[in-house]
Amino acid sequence: MAARRVRVEVARKGAGLSSLEPIDKTPFRLAASPGFIWLTVVLVWLFSLLQWRTWQPAPDLLLLVIAYWCLNEPGRIGMVTAFCFGLLMDVHDGSLLGVHALTYTLVAYGTLVLSRRLQRFNSVVQCIHMLPVFVVAKSASRLIEGWLAGEWLGWGWLWSAILMALLWPLVDVLLQMPQRRHEEGDGGSV
């Protein structure tokens, strides 16, 4: 009888402990190292100098990565960086100076304004929020470019915005990888 009571006691204790588990199990996000941030941005920028972007619906990966860091590391990558990279892309593409700069600045602004809200959600909900940001930013520069060139070149860029939104969760997984590995290493000592 005594042994049984002890066992019940232990079982009850176990139940008590499991009920003490934290409600929010999502891990804290560690800050990414500045070296990693700049490395990813510069690598994607270099990759954007290649020819795959001639396909009109191609997603603008550089813009995607810049937007991602604007959300997660607003202290390092902001609107000025976005503007400068936009200008570099303008010169590379031989388009009017300021087309990409305007798009990148608007996306960076949209991300910064929405950041408080976005940080509460996971990446799938974030990507639904980001789609209108991409569409509005791209349409603004497309409208002005179309006005200056005197012609409207159709809606092919919408696919680009949609693809960018779809790629957002993937970018989230890839760019969070180093920070996650760090957490796993820490897990043992807690």
Binding site: L46, F47, L49, L50, Q51, R53, T54, Q56, G78, M79, V80, F83, G86, L87, L88, V91, H92, D93, G94, S95, L96, L97, G98, V99, A101, L102, T105, L106, Y109, L112, V113, I144, E145, L148, A149, E151, L153, G156, W157
Partner: protein, 296 residues
């Protein structure tokens, strides 16, 4: 006041909105200035000189692969090329005798009419570096620039004929607008009857348009258009396009023709830039403008 002596715990820059307005305004100003005037060319050139090493680094693997492929395929390619050249040689031999006859006759006629000789054009061979991504224009970027003597305005040709015109140069690269680009127009004439016209890029995809024809103009589908040499930038006699169709509008009294370019920039990587005297052409044009301006 205590504020001056108090600790500054948070960094206060300009607000997000202020930065947005400043940067968006700057971008808009750049856009409008760049679309209307050429004042920003030095800025663009500076940035593109900075960009150039990175572009070359990124294109290096592609160039390397092409070079290795070239080495591996050398024997095969040589044989194909040799066969093509043999055939061409036989064809050209026939034409050469004919041409020699014509040249002698032409020289004699020129002497009779006191027309100066046609000078041969110095040229620079260039290679395509990349095709810039822009939905609004058809451009190509070449691997030589103002340091090799290329200037804006020079025509670009391949074996088929006129490919385009240089529109922008940096020290190491040159950007050419293709003849299908809507900002380009070329003075041409019909080879069959010498009718002088102007061919415009743009319009339908990959086509040229010949506009401002009177409804009765003698132009038919199948006519070959060659440069007329008027304007001084394009030397006379270069093939440009072949007329596909002619649309005559009886309501307005004007006709319009669609033509396909004879050059195929998408099939080649090497082109020739003709070093025409851009300055002389510009001076001529200014002199003409000055005359008409004076009359006003």
């Amino acid at each position: 006041m205590q504020e001056n002596g108090s600790l500054k715990l948070f960094k206060h820059g300009p607000t997000v909105e202020a930065r947005l307005f400043a940067l968006a305004f700057l971008a808009l100003a750049l856009l409008i200035v760049d679309a209307r005037w050429s004042a920003l060319e030095p800025v663009r050139q500076g940035i593109s000189v900075l960009l150039y090493p990175f572009q070359r680094i990124m294109l290096a693997p592609r160039d390397g692969v092409e070079r290795v492929k070239g080495w591996v395929d050398a024997a095969n390619e040589m044989q194909i090329e040799k066969a093509a050249l043999q055939r061409q040689r036989i064809e050209l031999a026939q034409m050469a005798t004919h041409a020699a006859q014509l040249a002698a006759e032409n020289e004699q006629l020129r002497r009779l009419l006191n027309v100066p000789d046609i000078v041969t054009q110095p040229s620079i061979a260039v290679e395509v570096l990349f095709e810039p991504t822009s939905a609004f224009n058809h451009h190509l970027v070449f691997n030589k620039g103002s340091s090799s003597g290329i200037q804006p305005g020079m025509p670009v040709i391949d074996e088929g004929g006129v490919v385009g015109q240089i529109v922008r140069v940096t020290p190491f690269t040159a950007e050419a607008a293709l003849i299908t680009d809507d900002k380009l127009s070329i003075p041409v004439q019909i080879l069959r009857n010498g009718l002088r016209l102007i061919a415009f890029g743009g319009g339908a995809d990959g086509k040229m348009e010949v506009r401002y024809l009177t409804a009765g103009a003698d132009i038919e589908s199948g006519d070959e258009l060659v440069t007329s040499g008027i304007g001084g930038l394009f030397p006379a006699g270069l093939p440009v396009a072949e007329v596909d169709s002619v649309h005559r509008d009886s309501a307005t009294g004007f006709a319009m023709a669609l033509a396909s370019p004879l050059a195929h920039p998408e099939r080649h990587r090497h082109f020739l830039v003709l070093q025409v005297d851009v300055e002389a052409a510009r001076r001529n044009e200014e002199a003409l403008n000055g005359q008409t301006g004076g009359r006003r």
